[in-house]
Point group: C2
């Protein structure tokens, strides 16, 4: 099938590029989807990619540019003159893609490119879109849509649509507006086709329509479209005028992006890396958590240093340090990630705070009881030293309670202060849980062994 | 806006339900979207939910049923007679939802329900769909779609569509088939509207069409639809006959599901839990990893027990146990999750194995070098004991190298054997890394201190 690019294709293409065989290269790529061409270009070196790219015609070239990784695109656009960017790329693009590309340029270049765009309406659309926060509905919407006036008939609509539709790749829905451009409702193509040409739109449209405003956060847009299975949603301004629309493909990207961000946080990676990235890029993404881990480890060593005498007298205490630290870390991450995932999924939270606290305490209490009992039994039969057995079990009990509550409360607090709650599953708090767990352990042991 | 259900709404509704005020309850919920009603029901207790549910009319009731959490739905359907399920719910549903619901029933009940469905064609569709693996394209597709014959004209099509469209909520694309029902291509509604009624379909349709077969894995379906921004994709059988279609809302669900599964794995939770779940459900989801963590901790204690004398002689060695264990675990999870995420995102992997190995070794080497140097400097200036300093630094170097390679290779191997690579980020391997890290540390220290 055409979406299977094989290593053989790539090798073949590389050979043709090396031979500078333009005809054969064009023959191989001209029927490919822009997304496939972008994928191929990312597997080529800069020289090869440039050779292939220059063989694409205007519209295809701009479609491919939209599909390329942001990082590569930036580098590529840096070497092109503004009038080339405007006339070869921007003019073929939908307003949302065009605005994204322009936003990636340096401010100086932005102005030049905007001035070079011949279609003054398109330039205006891009300038409008650049005003919005890039994470808001305004920042991801496209201006291209099909809108009809509520006072028209089906016949007028069909004529108007055939004009407007030229600019719009997929219609999905027809939006109905009044004379002041306020959004009144939605008309499905199906309804349009199935009704008589003299019928008035005002009698056909559905006024019950989900909408978002230009300042709605993109996560909320995704949530609404996902919940109601919407293929597109209209975006209105504060007084209800239709400004643009957001389509399902944007939502898939948002859902994926959000999930990846949280995943990276909990696995201790900062930023978006893949095995294909450069060595230093991977290093840079991994460094921060490891550094915090190292500092946590050093702090742990300092804490243990305070109890050097205890550890010398009762060396067995040292055996359970990793267990206490690991359980503290694990319980903390579990608690945090359940909260983070529920915040991210946007499930409405209708439990009272008292009920929530009671439940978290119950879970923590049972968890603590079960695992303390297990380690009590192990120690009792393995070492038979009641002081040791009690030290470890009681410490584990307290540490689990503590880590659970800490893990639950921190993301909620972060969220309250509009900080990404996923931070709680990340390095800092896990490490803190580790270190605090050890302190609790050694203090309690000190009590049982009367050492400190 | 209508999608904002507030706590106040819920409280008000609960009071009305308690008063058994049917009229007011209906007034409050009748204009709500089924997804909203489902959300409300999930916040009610069983009695309240039942009271509200019985007030819904047939179509709305079945729409709500589709939106309810699978777990709650199963419990609910258990108490209903088969003929009721068939006539009140199944008959109003699209074939994919109907098949999902039927699949959740016990086998005995399944047969009875299928026999009670009056529309024999619908029953046949459901039986067909139940044949497919639930994670394949066949398992998620719906039979409802609009198909036209390549030999028809635009006029015939419009007439046919008005008949077929009654069963299909949203048309999106019109599929073109030949006389043997083989998929030939795709016709957009836009094209249909914009062409003359006498035009022949065979001249209008686009034969370049992405398709999947009934046995394509759902992750691959999602990947293809995401890559090419498809709102729907046709599903064909092995000889190319059109069997059904999959729409974008299924893809959003798949993307979310996959991301959540990986996220849960890396945070040590088995299964899908939310803070709103029951105490024992949360406990059950958290128990397995904690148990493995505990066993790992016990194994760690046993390993350390082997070196009791060393630890007694050089107590300072114990200070760095948490550091070594934490770094081993962190490095391992980082390496694994980068690989897992890249497998999950379906990015084509076109690097040679030799190049890949070289790069991973480079990253591991630099990471190990940086952090060993840092801990070397700390120990040198803090304790000034060269044996201790060298033991910790060299161990950390080896442990990081080891954990990196382990973390990279394991998910690749798992993937090769068709096991979910995300397992590598989970409990078992992290714990193994911890324990092996400590063993390496104590063996190397033994060499420097000549203790064992």
């Amino acid at each position: 099938m055409s979406y299977e690019i094989t290593k053989e294709n790539i090798e073949q293409l590389k050979i043709l590029v090396e031979e500078e065989n333009k005809e054969q290269v064009v023959a191989l790529i001209e029927d490919l989807h822009p997304a496939d061409i972008a994928e191929i270009l990312e597997d080529m070196n800069a020289e090869e990619a440039k050779f292939i790219y220059l063989l694409l015609d205007g519209e295809k070239a701009s479609d491919v540019l939209v599909e390329i990784d942001e990082h590569d695109r930036k580098r590529f656009l840096k070497v092109l003159p503004p009038e080339f960017i405007a006339s070869k790329f921007i003019e073929y693009m939908d307003s949302d893609d065009a605005a994204d590309v322009v936003a990636e340029l340096d401010e100086e270049v932005q102005k030049e490119v905007l001035n070079e765009i011949e279609d003054i309406e398109q330039a205006g659309d891009i300038v409008d879109l650049l005003e919005y926060d890039e994470d808001s509905a305004g920042g991801i919407m496209a201006k291209e849509l099909v809108a009809v006036n509520e006072n028209w008939t089906v016949a007028t609509c069909l004529k108007e649509i055939s004009v407007q539709a030229e600019e719009v790749d997929e219609i999905f829905y027809i939006y109905v507006v009044d004379d002041t451009e306020k959004l009144k409702g939605l008309l499905s193509l199906k309804n349009l086709i199935l009704n008589h040409t003299n019928a008035k739109i005002s009698n056909l449209y559905d006024p019950e329509i989900k909408r978002v405003t230009t300042d709605t956060r993109q996560e909320e847009v995704a949530e609404i479209m996902d919940k109601y299975d919407l293929v597109a949603i209209p975006v209105v301004d504060d007084i209800g005028r239709l400004k643009g629309r957001i389509t399902f493909d944007d939502v898939i990207d948002i859902v994926r992006e959000e999930a990846e961000k949280d995943y990276q946080m909990v696995s201790g990676i900062t930023g978006d890396v893949e095995p294909g990235d450069k060595v230093w890029e991977i290093l840079r993404a991994r460094f921060p958590w490891l550094l915090i881990g190292l500092l946590g480890g050093i702090l742990g060593a300092v804490v243990l240093g305070q109890y050097e005498d205890s550890l010398k007298d009762v060396t067995k205490l040292a055996f359970f340090i990793p267990l206490i630290a690991a359980m503290a870390g694990n319980v903390g991450v579990q608690s945090s990630s359940i909260v983070v995932q529920s915040i991210a999924s946007g499930v409405k939270d209708l439990e009272t705070p008292a009920r929530k606290l009671f439940k978290e305490v119950s879970v923590a209490f049972f968890t603590a009881a079960i695992f303390s009992l297990l380690i009590f039994l192990f120690n009792h039969f393995k070492y038979g030293d009641m002081n040791l057995t009690l030290s470890v079990s009681i410490s584990l009990f307290i540490v689990i309670l503590f880590a659970s509550l800490f893990g639950t409360v921190i993301p909620l607090v972060l969220n309250k202060f509009k900080i990404d709650p996923a931070l709680a599953t990340g390095p800092f708090i896990t490490t803190m849980n580790d270190v605090l767990g050890m302190m609790i352990y050694l203090m309690i042991s000190g009590y049982f062994f009367d050492l400190v």
